[in-house]
Structures are given as structure tokens and as C-alpha cells.
């Protein structure tokens, strides 16, 4: 009998969870934590604190996948992919969240630039994905609506 894919994946996840629990990150592991970037309260401030001195250009080469209207503002699924070369990091900013920087993925040279995460959004806001590549910042954005719902036809 073949092991079903989801059971295989589920057991894989449990195994991974064990490893994480066993190593139990010491605070030291967060030495790379960019406190200033996460503490910024405006979008511009968060950009500047996260990526000081780099210019931002709008890009067609980034695919941002997020719902137009969130099913649940507490867990909004977001995927960012790009074909840009030499991607160092991918960051997500939510303009109207109390601290706009929601996440940063630091990528090594062998990583594929294709990341997914669920983020929390308090209200309707622009979602900005920024890709650091070739010493430049590339940006794409989309509005994600957080609505009270109801009243569908």
C-alpha cells in the first residue's frame, strides 16, 4: 500500500517540529534580528530602517499572490515569487499595520526565490513585497481588503 502524500507530509512536519523543539533556539540565534526595522511605525520608515540607502523601483518581475479580499484578516496567505537574479532577501510590508514590516526572508545563493507565509492584517491595507536583488530593491504592491462580510448576492 502506498503511503498517502498527506500522511507522508504530516509525519515529515512532525519530525521537523521535533528537531526545532530539540534545538530550542537560544536568544543568541536572533542576533540578526533587525529591531529598528520591525519597530518602525510608517511604511517609509520601515523601508529605510530595513534597507538603508537602497533605491526602490517598481517591478513586473515579481509575482505577488494574495487575496483581493481576505477570508480571515488574522491569517492572510501570501506568496512571493520572482525570476530576478541573485536574490538576497524578500520582505513583506503591510502599510497600515502598527509595525509595517511583517516578515523578511533572507535567501542564500542556492535558495529558490519563492516564499509563502501567512500574515496578520488589522484592516484594509496595501501589501508591499520588496525583493533585494543586484544591489537594488524591487517592489510590487496590492491592496488586500479586510471586510466585515455578509450581504453576498
Amino acid at each position: 500500500m502506498q503511503m498517502k502524500r498527506r500522511y507522508f507530509l504530516a509525519s515529515l512536519c512532525k519530525a521537523a517540529a521535533c528537531i526545532v523543539a530539540a534545538t530550542s533556539f537560544p536568544r543568541l540565534a536572533f542576533s540578526g534580528w533587525n529591531e529598528r526595522a520591525f519597530q518602525a511605525e510608517t511604511l517609509d520608515g520601515a523601508f529605510k530602517n530595513k534597507y538603508p540607502g537602497l533605491d526602490i523601483v517598481d517591478s513586473q518581475a515579481i509575482k505577488l499572490k494574495a487575496p483581493a479580499i481576505a477570508e480571515n484578516g488574522s491569517v492572510v496567505p501570501v506568496t512571493v515569487k520572482t525570476d530576478l537574479p541573485d536574490v538576497k532577501s524578500i520582505s513583506l510590508f503591510v502599510e497600515k499595520n502598527p509595525s509595517p514590516l511583517a516578515a523578511t526572508f533572507n535567501l542564500g545563493p542556492l535558495n529558490v526565490a519563492d516564499v509563502s507565509i501567512r500574515i496578520r492584517m488589522g484592516e484594509t491595507s496595501n501589501l508591499v513585497a520588496v525583493v533585494e536583488s543586484g544591489g537594488k530593491l524591487h517592489r510590487v504592491q496590492q491592496e488586500v481588503k479586510v471586510t466585515i462580510g455578509g450581504c453576498g448576492g
Binding site: K4, A10, I69, A70, E71, C151, G152
Partner: protein, 582 residues
């Protein structure tokens, strides 16, 4: 005043009826059901029948505003503007079917519309006239909800009716407002294919063993089906209502996630085009027409999107240009009132021509199919007395459809206020619900036609003026956001006891102003008001079902004469082609 108007309308009816040919010969003159067989395959399309097994009256909207790119274009045309755009003769059967012009008079003259026994006769004729093996019957969804019997049988009465009707492929929206287990049971009992490319099982639910059609892709249901029609391979992709878990309770279907997902759709169309080599690719959609139009401009490789959800009955297809060609968009109304007929001519390069008609289903002009009629009567029998219980008499025309309060909505809002003794009432802007003519007895069935959902519980609570404004703004943006992908396809929330000004052209947060109570008192942001409502999406409310509240009110008033309509004063909409008189 009210009586005068009714009397006037009654006299008008007599006057116009006196000068008419008998109905059947007049319809024959219009050539209503005389559809020649052209092309190689025929696609029949029904949508949003909302479980109306028996013929009904249904008034099309007189207010269906469109702005920005949608200004003055279908579906945002009503009345004479719609007739003019689609070259329909005023006063004809078709004019009555597609507009609300002289509704009461015309409804008395032309009779009821829809009903599955009449649909069955018409659909069978259209199949046989073209060749059954070359014809498909597609149902855009919102079929298994909308009546008392659909609710009490959890949609099963409609599954059986659809099997009798011979629906080949369908997609859904309100079908997902039963519990997920029931939804899957209904889909299993349905003899056609239920398709939806944009319903997926959430990743964590997949891990926990939630069933999926395809565990690798995450599709909860079959995304598309290939149909062989007289040697031609036709792909039918399903597009369920993208915002089901937002507009309706997600608690009934906690494991599923929806969305427009037009990127996925493009990938799927490309894959079907290369691997299945179809003669045509059709999307059976429950997006709503504005979303269909935008989707058609972005996704390439689709020959036609047959749409529903927004209940727009559009006489001719809209040809939408995109990067690779043209996609047809049609929408086929609601309540069983129409059957769309799309005949496609197919050549070596795929679709080379088309012929389309949206046929109104006049039950006076068609014979009832005996097998369907007998099924409906037998199925209804146990509930007959409950359904036919008389509650009051309609003193005026009662209807719902339109961007703002319809008269039947006002009745619901007035009932909520009176029965619960509150200042303000809220009622959802659903687009379904049938119409009741002046002088007709309002039965429990009519009330259920307006209210029959799986989350009907009412509530009474305090709300601040600020919260009330936030609700109005939120729903207003779902209707009038300039980008169709941000619209949910319902109408504006209905209100009792509250007037306001509304400017659809403003941005969210700035559309609503001058909120006042019925006594003229201004709503204050920081003050609390007593509010009643129903159909809460987030969690179950504690009160009785709304139909009991409305029935109590109707038994009490005996004759419905609406004293005041809480429709807003509209700004920037005076000459909008989406507004008509009558």
C-alpha cells in the same frame, strides 16, 4: 394616496389588456421560442434559480448603478436604456422580461415566469431541436438554496429536481451554505459534474485528512470536465463564487478556501489547451458579471464565460477583448426566469462563430412537463399547508432587487423594528427573493423566498453611530469599489428607521453622510442605538429565525402599505443610466 395609485394601475391593466391579441398568438408573433439550430454544439445555461420550483413573479431592478468603466454599460442599464441598448421593442414580452417597466401591469398581463416543470419543457425542446448528443445543460449555481423546501431538505429537493432536469455541469455558491459534509453528499447525489477550479482545501486541513478531489493540487472539487458533443471536445471549467467564506459563514465550510484565482485559471486554461486539445473552452462562472468582464480581459484562451451571481439578465453576449482574442461574457438572470442558448460554430481553429439568445420562461406560454410537475407536487406535499399559510395582503408591489431597499426589504426591516422594539434595523442586500403583486395574498412561502438561509437567526444589540457608519461604508465599498475584483456582488445593506446620503463615487469611508433616524434626529458617532438584524456571518445569533419575525408582523398588519422607504438620497447618480422610472 396609496389606494388611488393602485386603482390607477388596475385601470391601466384593463385598458391595455382590452387592446391585445390573445397571449399565445402574440408570443408567436414575437417568435419567442422559435430558435433555429445553427452551429455545431449548443450550450444551454441556467443560473441562480434559487430553488424556485414553481413559477414566480420577479421584478428586474430599476436601480443598478455603474460607475467608472462600467458607466452606461451592461449590466448597469435598466428600463428604457436597456431596451434601447439591446433593441428590444417596448411593451413586448421581452421588454417585460428584461426590465421593471410598468411591472405590475405587465406581470398581470404576461403571467408568471420560471418553474422547473416549464423549464424542463423548454430545455427538452431546445435539446431535441438541436440534437441531444450535441447539447449541454450548464447550471451556474445558487440552485440548491432559496426556498423553504430547499432549506428543510438541506438542498436535496433541488438535487433531485436538477437530476430530472438533466443538468450536465454546475458550479456553486449558496450550495456551500449547508455543512461541508452535506455539501459533499449533495454533490455525490448530483448526476452531473460539479466543478470549481477556485475551491481548495486549506493546507492544514489537508494535513488533518480533510477530503480533497486532488491532494496534490489541493482542489476540493473537480476543477473542470471534458464533454464530448457530437465528436467535439468541450472543456467546462467551474468558477464558484470567489467570496463565499466572506459573504457567507465560513463556519459551515471551515476547511475550504476560495478566491478569484485568475492566475490559477490562466494556468489551467493553458494546460487544457495543450493537453486536452479542446474545440472550445467554457468557464461556468458564479463571479458576478462585473468580475466576469474583468476576468475576460485578463485571462486568455477562454471562448465564453457563462456567468451568474449578480442576477443580471443580459440579452446579448458582451465581447471582451484580451491579449489573445475575444472572450464572450453572458449572464442569465435568476429565479428560473431565463434559459441562455449559446450555439457555437466550430472550425479547425476552434470557435468560428456563435449565436446567442436569452429566452424568458413564461409559464403561460409553455406546457408543464408532467414528470417534473408531479415530482414537485409530491415533494411539496408534506409542507404544503405550512408554505401556503396566508399572512397578509400586499397593498402594493413587493419586490427586493435593486441597489437599495426594495419594498419587501422595507417590510422585513419594519418587522424587525416593530417586533423587537428597536430604533434601527439592518437586513442583508441579497439579490434573490421573488415579487408579490398588489392584491396578492402574502403566504409563508413568499416570506421564505426572501429569507430562507441556514443562518436566519435575528439579534438585538446596541451599536454606536460610528459602528453603524462603518457597516454602511463597508457594504457600500463591496458594491461600488471601482475595481470589480473587490466587489462581492450583493446589493447595499437594507435599513429600517435610518436615512442617509450616499455618494457612490467617493472612496470608502466617505460615501455615507447625514445619517438620521426616522424622526429626523442626527446619528451621533459616540451615541449608542438599539439595532435589530439577522443573517450574522461571524457567529450564530441567539434570536428567532427572521421568517418568524416577519410572519408575526404580517399577521399583525393584515394589509401591507409601506409608510416610509428608507432609501438613501443619492449623490452623483441623477442621470446614471442604471436608474430608471417604474
Amino acid at each position: 394616496m396609496n389606494i388611488d395609485r393602485r386603482e390607477f394601475l388596475r385601470l391601466l391593466t384593463f385598458a391595455s389588456a382590452a387592446g391585445l391579441l390573445p397571449l399565445n398568438s402574440r408570443a408567436a408573433n414575437e417568435g419567442l421560442y422559435n430558435i433555429p439550430a445553427r452551429g455545431d454544439v449548443r450550450l444551454l445555461h441556467i443560473t441562480d434559480t434559487h430553488a424556485q420550483l414553481k413559477p414566480v413573479y420577479f421584478r428586474e431592478p430599476s436601480v443598478n448603478l455603474g460607475f467608472h468603466d462600467a458607466l452606461g454599460k451592461a449590466p448597469h442599464l435598466t428600463g428604457a436604456r436597456l431596451l434601447e441598448r439591446f433593441k428590444i421593442v417596448a411593451g413586448s414580452h421581452l421588454a417585460h422580461a428584461f426590465t421593471s417597466l410598468n411591472f405590475t401591469e405587465a406581470a398581470n398581463q404576461y403571467g408568471k415566469v420560471g418553474g422547473f416543470a416549464y423549464l424542463k419543457t423548454l430545455i427538452d425542446d431546445l435539446r431535441d431541436g438541436f440534437g441531444s448528443d450535441k447539447t449541454l445543460l450548464l447550471d451556474g449555481g445558487d440552485t440548491w438554496q432559496g426556498s423553504g423546501t430547499a432549506l428543510w431538505t438541506r438542498g436535496k429537493d433541488m438535487v433531485a429536481a436538477c437530476n430530472l432536469l438533466g443538468v450536465d455541469v454546475m458550479t456553486g455558491h449558496w450550495e456551500f451554505t449547508y455543512r461541508d459534509g452535506e455539501v459533499l453528499e449533495n454533490i455525490a447525489a448530483f448526476k452531473g459534474d460539479f466543478v470549481a477550479q477556485n475551491v481548495k482545501v486549506k493546507e492544514d486541513a489537508l494535513f488533518d485528512g480533510s477530503p480533497a478531489y486532488d491532494e496534490d493540487s489541493g482542489h476540493a472539487l473537480k476543477p473542470y470536465v471534458m464533454k464530448n458533443l457530437g465528436g467535439h471536445r468541450i472543456a467546462v471549467i467551474g468558477q464558484a463564487f470567489p467570496y463565499t467564506p466572506v459573504a457567507n459563514p465560513s463556519r459551515f465550510i471551515p476547511d475550504w478556501t476560495f478566491g478569484i484565482n485568475d492566475g490559477d485559471l490562466q494556468e489551467l486554461v493553458d494546460e487544457i489547451r495543450s493537453s486536452e486539445k479542446p474545440s472550445a473552452v467554457i468557464v461556468l462562472s458564479h463571479n458576478g458579471m462585473d468580475v466576469d468582464l474583468k476576468m475576460a480581459s485578463r485571462v486568455t484562451g477562454i471562448d465564453a464565460i457563462l456567468g451568474g451571481h449578480t442576477h443580471d439578465g443580459i440579452p446579448a453576449p458582451i465581447e471582451v477583448k484580451n491579449a489573445n482574442g475575444i472572450t464572450l461574457v453572458t449572464n442569465a438572470g435568476c429565479n428560473g426566469k431565463f434559459v441562455g442558448v449559446l450555439d457555437l460554430k466550430l472550425g479547425a481553429q476552434g470557435v468560428s462563430g456563435y449565436y446567442y439568445k436569452l429566452l424568458p420562461v413564461f409559464s403561460n406560454l409553455l406546457k408543464a412537463d408532467p414528470a417534473m410537475a408531479s415530482y414537485i407536487e409530491t415533494m411539496r406535499k408534506p409542507w404544503q399547508s405550512k408554505l401556503e399559510a396566508p399572512l397578509a395582503v400586499a397593498g402594493e408591489l413587493l419586490y427586493r432587487r435593486g441597489n437599495f431597499n426594495g419594498t419587501f426589504d422595507q417590510v422585513i426591516c419594519d418587522a424587525l423594528r416593530m417586533v423587537n422594539d428597536v430604533q434601527i434595523s439592518l437586513s442583508p442586500g441579497f439579490r434573490w427573493g421573488t415579487s408579490v403583486l398588489p392584491g396578492q395574498t402574502i403566504t409563508m412561502e413568499h416570506v421564505l423566498d426572501q429569507t430562507c438561509i441556514t443562518y436566519p437567526e435575528t439579534y438585538v444589540r446596541e451599536m454606536s453611530g460610528k459602528d453603524l457608519k462603518a457597516i454602511l461604508e463597508d457594504v457600500g465599498d463591496n458594491l461600488f469599489n471601482p475595481d470589480p475584483y473587490y466587489q462581492q456582488g450583493g446589493d447595499m445593506v437594507r435599513l429600517g428607521g435610518l436615512d442617509y446620503r450616499f455618494d457612490p463615487l467617493q472612496a470608502m469611508g466617505k460615501r455615507v453622510s447625514e445619517m438620521t433616524l426616522d424622526n429626523g434626529e442626527k446619528i451621533q458617532a459616540g451615541k449608542n442605538y438599539k439595532v435589530a438584524g439577522w443573517a450574522t456571518v461571524g457567529s450564530q445569533s441567539a434570536g428567532e429565525p427572521i421568517w418568524d419575525t416577519v410572519a408575526t408582523y404580517l399577521r399583525d398588519v393584515k394589509t401591507v402599505n409601506i409608510k416610509k422607504m428608507n432609501t438613501p438620497v443619492l449623490l452623483n447618480a441623477v442621470n446614471n443610466p442604471g436608474i430608471s422610472n417604474g
